[in-house]
């Protein structure tokens, strides 16, 4: 029997694929990469494309939309990005997060009123304790 390696493909939200493979073809950033077991350690960026995982006569195809692949002699880990994710989209999201912050903050002060903060939190805690006691 041909030697095999472990393959794990996951997005941040869920595991996409886990299994054994004799041969794997990945859409590397600099062109397609074919990996056989006992490959030397490799870290590669991936582009959008198809991942072909061959085990015996069986070929699994998984679509990845960018991400990273780590190759160890007996294990391949592929961190696939979830669908639409490009640097421009990330940036747009970052700008959006900043805009929201500005919206929240109409008056921008830098010194935090710790006394007020602690008083408020103490109030909330006291209220909770009181409610709990009242229940008994």
């Amino acid at each position: 029997m041909a030697s095999t390696m472990q393959v794990l493909v996951a997005t941040a939200e869920r595991e996409v694929y886990r299994g054994e493979a004799e041969f794997l073809v990945a859409p590397g950033a600099a062109g397609e990469l074919g990996i056989l077991p006992k490959h030397s350690p490799l870290l590669s960026a991936l582009t959008t494309g198809e991942l072909r995982i061959t085990n015996g006569d069986h070929v699994d195809e998984v679509f990845v939309s960018g991400g990273y692949m780590e190759v160890q002699p007996d294990m391949i880990t592929i961190l696939s990005d979830s669908a639409e994710r490009a640097s421009d989209i990330d940036e747009a999201a970052a700008v959006e997060a900043e805009r929201k912050a500005k919206e929240v903050l109409d008056t921008k002060k830098d010194d935090i009123d710790y006394a007020a903060a602690e008083a408020e939190l103490a109030m909330m805690t006291a209220r909770l304790i009181w409610l709990k006691k009242k229940k008994k």
Partner: protein, 285 residues
């Protein structure tokens, strides 16, 4: 004493409230299970990225990525605070915010706050913290994209030198009854445990080592924050379930008390009526 009719209305109102809290309790229970499942299904990626970072640590000696290097002078610290969007979940947010305040007080450097969830945003605004990034209305099925904006912002600020450290505060799900507020340092990245592999070895990088390392480390930070958000969701639902159960029990107790009062009022009314009839009969006789 309130009239019997008034008390009856009150009983009805409280019974209705009890029904609502009971429904909310059951909804929270089912959502909690799903939220826990999501924590589990996100584990593969988190473990994968942690393993890769661990391997990177044992592999690469000569190139130190800025994400891993501690800065000598800490001028400004970023704190990402994760809370829920909605209330009605007991002391969950209060405890997390308390933890955040403790952390903020311990800093000698300036502070910028990034908030995930409305409760953190509102609180930080009230106490006058400098809020640099906000993520709100996180759905019950959070996706990485929901928080990517805030995390990217924090990372960019770290790279540009505006921030020298980034910390994360969130509620960790211990079990249904217990959620513990947790603090961790995000950047410089916490190093996962890794086994020292014998001999010198290094990865082949494709394309550049620097770009690949940065890409992986970014995903590492993102996955840590995403994990925190998922944990927080599970906490929110379990805390809400417990809070709503307490509210339902309270409603039952109050209804019980009110029923006694109602019966007393009813009896008093009957007694009075009888007394009046007797008095009337005596006067006529």
């Amino acid at each position: 004493m309130a009239s019997a009719k008034e008390i009856r209305t009150q009983i009805g109102a409280i019974q209705n409230t009890g029904k609502i809290t009971k429904a909310m309790e059951m909804v929270a229970a089912s959502k909690m299970r799903k939220a826990q499942d999501r924590v589990v299904s996100a584990r593969s990626y988190a473990e994968g990225v942690r393993r890769i970072v661990g391997n990177m640590m044992s592999a690469h000696a000569e190139y130190q990525h800025p994400f891993l290097v501690e800065r000598e002078e800490i001028k400004k610290v970023g704190i990402i605070v994760v809370t829920t969007d909605k209330g009605l979940c007991g002391g969950l947010n209060t405890n997390a915010l308390k933890e955040a305040i403790v952390l903020m007080k311990a800093q000698t450097a300036g502070i910028e706050v990034f908030t995930i969830g409305k409760r953190a945003g509102l609180f930080m605004k009230r106490v006058g913290a400098q809020i640099s990034g906000v993520a709100e209305n996180i759905s019950d099925t959070p996706e990485l994209a929901d928080i990517l904006g805030v995390v990217t912002l924090a990372i960019e600020k770290y790279i540009s030198g505006e921030l020298d450290e980034v910390h994360l505060v969130f509620s960790e799900f211990v079990n249904t009854m217990t959620q513990s507020p947790t603090t961790m340092r995000l950047m410089p990245c916490p190093l996962p445990e890794h086994e020292e592999k014998s001999g010198y070895w290094d990865y082949l990088y494709e394309p550049e080592a620097k770009d690949v390392l940065e890409g992986v480390l970014r995903r590492y930070v993102e996955s840590l924050v995403y994990h925190a958000v998922l944990e927080n969701k599970a906490c929110e639902q379990s805390a809400r379930m417990v809070a709503m159960k307490a509210a339902t029990d309270n409603a039952k107790d109050i209804v019980g008390d009110l029923k006694i009062t109602y019966n007393k009022a009813r009896q008093a009314a009957i007694t009075q009526e009888l007394a009046e009839i007797c008095a009337g009969a005596a006067a006529a006789g």
